[in-house]
């Protein structure tokens, strides 16, 4: 064996010993890609979580309505749900297969800015071979175009089925999700919109993740749903504060979401412990209509698809129901924020100081103690998280204020 071969072998052995193969980054990566409201957009449910839910809920089924109603963070979605604008369909396709899956399209909503669908899948899996079941829905227009995903807002979650008897080797489960889609490509004035909702299904064996994701197949639903038309305005105003000029080019106000097309040369990213250096600056906006404060310092969400590098224009999404506000709008970008990533030790120290129990992980890092899940602890966790992330945020103060009139419908 040559020197090179020996050293290669040693490096491989050394690293295999230092870092076992069962270490998995996927959950952390997935949660960072869906950083804003990841807990409300959950296109999968761990089987183990489902089993825990069986213990907690004797009914064994987690009603999707409850999930939707718990989306306090997505006021636009809540508003259209309360207004009865969401089409309730509850169509079940018997998919079958090795997990005897039934897939149900529960509800669909579409307006000029976004669509969301509530889908669930129920089936059975061997008790000794837990799986993560994934659903990948597609919303397809009559012309064949597919709505892109929006990576914020929405709702979801999952639940478990029955089971619990050790003699039973197949255990029922149910998963559900409420994904968001970018509906801005829809060009219609029709009140009814025909859609095809296609759902791809796949799973991962939790105990044998090396197999990767295994595709099960797909099922589809053909439906007709109401289309909620929005209002489009083109203020095309520019405001300069300091060295930064912002232009509000277009505003689309739809019942569940308002979209702001803003253009600006993005300031240089700050130095710091930034894991993702491609993350853009984040506007924080306020809105007054006819002198009344409607929004006060809310973050607006950037879809990953919504930046045009040539025009330097971003589409920002306000997940609020603003379609009832007509008259004189004063929309203000209060500041541009940039989130740095706190060092792990500082983050852990902040949680410790706030009384949130943490557990150190081998090889560095920590996790929140899963044994502590009472409401008081969760509040402490949220407050501590907010405080440290605010401390680690860079800001460029504004305000850039735009004024325009929204006519009565």
């Amino acid at each position: 064996m040559s020197d090179d071969q020996r050293f290669t072998q040693w490096l491989q052995d050394y690293e295999a010993e230092r870092m076992p193969d069962d270490m998995n980054l996927w959950n952390a990566i997935e949660s960072q890609i869906r950083p804003v409201r990841r807990t409300t957009v959950l296109p999968r449910v761990g089987w183990l979580v489902a089993v825990l839910m069986i213990i907690m809920t004797t009914a064994g089924v987690y009603a999707l309505d409850q999930i939707i109603n718990n989306q306090a963070g997505d006021k636009g979605m809540n508003a259209v749900t309360e207004q009865g604008k969401v089409a309730e369909l509850y169509i079940t396709n018997e998919f079958g297969g090795e997990f005897d899956l039934d897939v149900t399209l529960q509800t669909v909503y579409v307006d000029s800015n976004r669509a969301f669908v509530a889908i669930s899948a129920a089936g059975v899996a061997p008790a000794n071979a837990p799986i993560n079941l994934y659903m990948n829905p597609h919303v397809i227009l009559p012309n064949g175009d597919e709505l892109p995903f929006l990576t914020f807002g929405g709702g979801g979650g999952g639940g478990g089925g029955g089971g619990g008897d050790e003699e039973i080797t197949l255990v029922p489960f149910e998963v559900s999700m409420v994904p968001n889609f970018d509906a801005s490509i829809i060009e219609t004035t029709d009140a009814i919109l025909p859609l095809v909702i296609k759902v791809e299904l796949a799973y991962v064996n939790i105990l044998d993740a090396e197999q990767g994701m295994i595709f099960l197949g797909e099922t589809q639903f053909e439906v007709e749903v109401p289309f909620n038309q929005g209002v489009t305005l083109t203020p095309n105003q520019s405001v300069t504060v300091g060295n930064n000029e912002l232009r509000l080019q277009k505003v689309v106000i739809a019942p569940s979401l308002t979209r702001l097309e803003m253009c600006y040369g993005e300031p240089a990213h700050p130095e710091g412990n930034v894991v993702d250096s491609s993350m853009p600056w984040q506007p924080v906006v306020s809105l007054s209509v006819n002198g009344e404060v409607v929004l006060d310092g809310v973050s607006v969400y950037l879809s990953q698809l919504d930046y045009n590098p040539e025009t330097q224009c971003y589409d920002y999404n306000v997940t609020e129901a603003l379609d009832s506000y007509t008259g004189d709008w004063s929309l203000s970008v209060d500041y541009l924020g940039y989130q740095l990533i706190p060092p792990t030790d500082e983050l852990q120290a902040a949680f410790d100081a706030a009384g949130v129990s943490t557990i150190a992980l081998p090889g560095g890092g920590f996790m929140i103690d899963p044994e502590v899940s009472d409401e008081t602890s969760m509040v402490k966790f949220q407050e501590a998280s907010l405080a440290i992330y605010q401390q680690w945020q860079e800001k460029i103060e504004g305000a850039w204020t735009f004024t325009f009139t929204v006519p009565e419908a």
Partner: protein
């Protein structure tokens, strides 16, 4: 209803096509395929398992967000490893804990080379004293660890390393030469012990 009952695993090209549609399944495949190699690569360069984890997570997120920058005619792995290695080097440049700078890499070889017939890697292969090897790796600069991991862990050629690091081949050759000799120097006590 269409209900196909097929089982299929994605390949890299299919995974990238999924990512271009912002479909997370594609990224899940790439993470499952490359996470360990990437994490271990970053770990050798940074000597910090937590930092390496952050770097690899960040690299996968970049893949998801910048997939349009990827030239699909080239192997995905090379593009991805380039992100990981460059981010690891950049991360280390922000840390003040590097024990040797590049100038120190240029110690005249005649001052540090042990006898040519002494083979430090024979001792390494015995795995009797990995701590000494760890110290040897720790004593290398970031750039030297980068070429070591690319050469010996990922089996890249000097030309490939040159392209990946955007450095002339002569520079890479020199770094590899220096790195090997540094390791020999660090391992000399063991060699001498064995010879005695």
């Amino acid at each position: 209803m269409i209900a196909q009952s097929k089982e299929a695993r994605l390949d890299d090209k299919q995974a990238i096509a999924h990512i271009k549609r912002k479909d997370m399944r594609g990224l899940a495949h790439l993470v499952a395929t490359y996470q360990h190699q990437a994490w271990r690569t970053a770990d050798v360069i940074t000597r910090d398992i937590g930092l390496a984890k952050d770097i690899v997570q960040g690299a996968f997120i970049k893949v998801f967000q910048r997939i349009d920058q990827y030239d699909t005619s080239r192997p995905f792995k090379a593009w991805f490893i380039k992100i990981v290695v460059n981010d690891a080097i950049k991360a280390m440049s922000r840390h003040a804990t590097i024990s040797l700078d590049d100038d120190q890499d240029k110690i005249p070889l005649g001052e540090i080379l042990p006898d040519d017939d002494a083979d430090p890697f024979l001792i390494v292969s015995d795995a009797e004293d990995r701590e000494i090897i760890e110290k040897a790796l720790d004593a290398l600069s970031t750039n030297l660890r980068a070429v070591i991991v690319l050469k010996y862990f990922l089996d890249y050629s000097e030309d490939e390393i040159s392209a990946l690091l955007d450095e002339p081949r002569s520079t890479i050759k020199g770094r590899l030469y220096t790195a090997r000799n540094r390791l020999r120097l660090a391992l000399r006590p063991l060699v001498e012990e064995r010879e005695a």
